[in-house]
């Protein structure tokens, strides 16, 4: 409890309140703190506590002082708690409720529950560490190096030291990782330069490099994640990887497409395929590039983009006229349909149901009634001469 400092309880400029919970008693280590029950508040930068009866009594601690924390389940006659382990007291700490403490941890005892949500939010904040991005106007003392002489109490010293060592080790690992990363990026940059110069040569004398070599070049770019700098038309000439992928998709998607009336949104396909793979997943671009090859590979599937921008994979055998005719039937049958109603009827997604209705509308079989209550489609009586 000697880590806490007095505060006026007001939030600083970039500080936001995340959650608060009343009915919380503080513990100095295992002992009840000499404070009453209060409200605990979590902000993006600090953990605060205010006495419920005496609002003037308000204390806080910066989140950067937290090493780790864990839940302590409730028991008979005991409220659930969150135990928070803290860094040693910093040199320049402002005054607080406790001058000293034999403990390096505190507990929040949730007498009126709320510990689950509070724990979750605390986890979020400690993960995001938002205080690092938006420093507040008032300098808040952060956990500075340990002062071995200050820590007492058997057992706690050992834990603290281990944690401190782990932190130092982690820091060291990270800085080494960053160094190695920088070196790696230098090499990657060279690769980018080389590919640019090749691309320029290709652009200048397009005839002098074979199709095979172009494909090789593209696969190199794919491996490095470099965008293709050659500006010539690349439609239908993906890499070997995409060709293979397109064939695989041709196999895997046959049954699912048939189950779904011959059409699936590309995002549906993405989820389906990646869930099935489990690892070595496809990137969205991999999927799009593979689908673009369906036609040139003479596979029975097509990639199609609707006016709305929705991309779907469609069975070649899937007849457009049939789809439109059945849409008209369904709508005539019910008098009128919204995309949601149509979706329920067919067991399809609302997205694709809407596209079908729009298609039918485009050819003039349906007309719309667009109001704030929704978009509803009616048979176009003018066309069917059913006046």
């Amino acid at each position: 409890m000697d880590r806490f400092v007095w505060t006026n309880g007001l939030l600083e400029m970039n500080e936001t309140l995340v959650i608060q919970q009343r009915g919380v008693r503080l513990y100095d280590g295992d002992d009840k703190a000499k404070l009453d029950v209060g409200v605990v508040l979590l902000s993006t930068h600090r953990l605060l506590w205010r006495d419920q009866k005496n609002h003037e009594c308000c204390i806080c601690i910066p989140l950067s002082q937290v090493i780790f924390f864990e839940e302590q389940a409730a028991g008979i006659g005991k409220s659930a708690k969150i135990v928070i382990y803290l860094h040693p007291v910093p040199e320049n700490k402002e005054p607080g409720p406790y001058q000293q403490s034999k403990y390096s941890f505190i507990k929040l005892s949730f007498k009126e529950h709320g510990q689950i949500e509070f724990y979750r939010r605390l986890t979020e904040e400690m993960t995001q560490k938002r205080w690092e991005n938006t420093p507040v106007s008032q300098p808040i003392p952060t956990g500075v190096g340990p002062k071995a002489a200050r820590t007492r109490a058997v057992g706690i010293v050992g834990i603290e030291r281990k944690l401190e060592e782990k932190r130092k080790e982690t820091d060291k690992n990270i800085s080494e990782a960053f160094e190695d990363l920088s070196k790696l990026m230098e090499k990657a940059k060279e690769m980018v330069e080389v590919s640019k110069s090749i691309a320029n040569k290709i652009k200048d004398k397009q005839g002098d490099i074979t199709e095979d070599e172009t494909i090789r070049f593209k696969s190199y770019l794919l491996s490095m994640g470099i965008a293709n700098p050659v500006t010539r038309e690349t439609h239908g000439s993906g890499t070997q990887y995409h060709i293979q992928l397109a064939r695989q998709l041709g196999d895997i998607l046959q049954a699912p497409l048939e189950e779904r009336g011959g059409m699936m949104a590309l995002t549906e396909v993405y989820c389906l395929v990646n869930r099935a793979r489990g690892m070595e997943l496809l990137s969205p671009e991999d999927l799009v590039n593979a689908c673009k090859m369906f036609e040139s590979l003479k596979l029975p599937l097509r990639l199609r983009v609707f006016d709305s921008g929705v991309m779907v994979v469609q069975l070649q055998s899937h007849s457009e006229e049939e789809m439109i005719a059945s849409a008209l039937d369904n709508v005539s049958d019910k008098g009128s349909l919204t995309a949601e109603e149509f979706a329920k009827l067919l067991g399809l997604s609302v997205l694709l149901s809407k596209e079908r209705l729009l298609l039918a509308e485009k050819v003039g079989h349906l007309c719309r009634d667009d109001s704030v209550e929704g978009l509803r489609f009616y048979p176009n009586l003018r066309l069917t001469n059913n006046f």
């Binding site: 949500e117 990657a188 690769m191 040569k201 490099i209 994640g225 965008a227 590309l266 549906e268």
Partner: protein, 241 residues
């Protein structure tokens, strides 16, 4: 006389062979890096941010393909592509509630929940990068800056500058009125109504005509109470159609 071996074509071939060799070397370097620091990328979201930014600076997209070296050796690909799947699923499950617009906070909350206690940590930066990749598949995935964070759009509803500005206005309270739009943005009544009607039609806004004073247009995407409502089993069945 024909001079062989000279000309841009021959030089290109030579450079290509060179590149092939350099690529092999780079692959080895990357393997070495991965053997030492693969865990760091997995565990440390800050490190991931650094990594991504450095790649972007030199003109490399480590997430372009699952077949790329970065993905294969560092495993960054799988992390983000799987995240993409989870994002799509959450958006699908909640679409009927919010019309296809969701705050990044709420999305983050549901994704973390879906991943369970022992899964890898996911930051909002991770989500943003995954969403940027999803844009390649059409379907209107996009992000609208609102109130210091983002609204994630997952349906192809057309939202122009006017709509965006009204969303930003509604962010503070979760709803907006015609008067507020006219006062803050100095628009004419017709323009304000036009925008609000569009949001209603797209299912992004709900009308409370019973509100005291004048009708209020609420945006379910901005309701903070909904944050605590988990995805119901019914909604979950919508995730994998």
């Amino acid at each position: 006389m024909h001079r062989r071996g000279v000309g841009a074509g021959a030089i290109a071939k030579k450079k290509l062979a060179e590149m092939s060799k350099q690529l092999e070397t780079f692959k080895t370097n990357l393997e070495e890096f991965a053997s030492k620091h693969k865990q760091e990328i997995r565990k440390n979201s800050q490190f991931r941010v650094q990594f991504q930014e450095m790649c972007a600076t030199i003109g490399v997209d480590p997430l372009a393909s699952g077949k790329g070296f970065w993905s294969e050796m560092l495993g960054v690909g799988d992390f983000y592509y799987e995240l993409g799947v989870q994002i799509i699923e959450v958006c699908l499950a909640l679409k009927h509630r919010n019309g296809g617009l969701i705050t990044l906070d709420e999305l983050h909350h549901h994704v973390l929940k879906g991943r369970g206690k022992f899964a890898q940590d996911v930051s909002q930066d991770d989500l943003v990068r995954a969403i940027k990749k999803l844009k390649a598949m059409g379907n209107g995935f996009g992000m609208i800056p609102v109130g210091g964070s983002y609204l994630v759009q997952s349906v192809p509803a057309e939202l122009n500058m006017d709509h965006t500005v009204v969303l930003q206005l509604a962010e503070k309270k979760g709803y907006v009125t015609v008067s507020e739009i006219r006062d803050s943005l100095k628009w004419e009544r017709e323009r304000a109504c036009h925008v609000l009607d569009h949001l209603l039609k797209e299912g992004l806004a709900w009308l409370d005509s019973q509100a005291a004073g004048e009708p209020q247009y609420w945006l379910p995407a901005l309701f903070s109470e909904l944050l605590s409502r988990d995805i119901t089993p019914e909604e979950a069945s919508q995730m994998t159609p």
